[in-house]
Amino acid sequence: MRLTALAILLGAGLMAIATPAQAAWRSYISHPLGFSFAAPGELKVEKGTYRGPVAGAHDSVVYRFVDDDIEYKVVVIDMGDKANDAATLLGEAGYIFQDGKKVLMDTFGRVDRQFGRKLTIDLPNNAGRATAAFYFINGRIISLQATVLPANGDYDSPETARFVDSIAFFTVRAPDDAIELPAPPK
């Protein structure tokens, strides 16, 4: 009897070691950009460039996290000089995201009086599965993209939806302990 109990305890201990440690989810907020979201892992801020035939070339800021072989990215593209083309610019961003890939979902995104799109795609060459949401607000495209990498393997992981659906444009909805996002590097 004692031996069985010991074996069960040992087994449970081994399982805990085998399961990768998952980072806690934290809330982030940007008052200047007017949005909040939640993500796990360590935050890195990068600068990037977005290009589209209609949009042209535009600077972007990428807030990036990696946890348990899922990459989480919030991409902010400043389109202030072309804001009057908001609808087409948002359509183009969604189109570029899924172009040439296998689309598994393409539906409305609706958050805090903002309509956008949510898409899930399989990346080519078994490079993973990405779920993204696209919104255009205050002259910016805000895109959340979560990619389950092959090393994770659980392509139906609920974490991607949790990340994408955590976006809020009414910043009062952010938790009190939300961390203010740093400014992008110069």
């Binding site: 908001a86 087409t88 948002l90 189109y95």
Partner: protein
Amino acid sequence: MRRSISAALAGAAVVMMTAMPAQAAWKSYINRQLGFSFMAPGEVTTDVGNFRGAIAGPRQSIVYRSVEDNIEYKVTVMSFLQSQAEGATLLGERQYMFQDRKTVLADSFARVGTGKDAVYGRKIVVDLPDNKGRTTGAFYFTKGRLISLEATVLPAKGNLASSDPDRFIGSIAFVLSHTEPGAVELETPKLE
């Protein structure tokens, strides 16, 4: 023998012409003031309509409409010149309302033009409730105007999979130099 063959052919022609509904020719229509052109069959009439969305609020619209062979063709134009930067959400709301509580058969990217002149929108096909027919819609927001094209195949038509709605939807152009010569000029009614 020859006489009976001729009679049979003539009879068949008469029966076919009587049984098949006469289909009107498709014509090109253009509105230079509002910046678009399209093609439709039948007689196009101009009306003023009303729209209300939670975000868009109450709006008057210009409606160009024709009915041919039990298919209703409609182009609706709403002006949002003061809120162009909200175009993405206004367009999203319009698309959402179009498909809300209906059976969505298709929902895909739509694009008019290419390169830097491209205008992105959506094309959505829905079955109407209570077997009232099938509507194909295309929705665009460009130059401060929300332009939607809707073609509804009515139950009397029978063939819900008719290709005419696609021909109508696909005929929209925003670069007017692409419009064929001789297009009928559409009037622009004044809104309050």
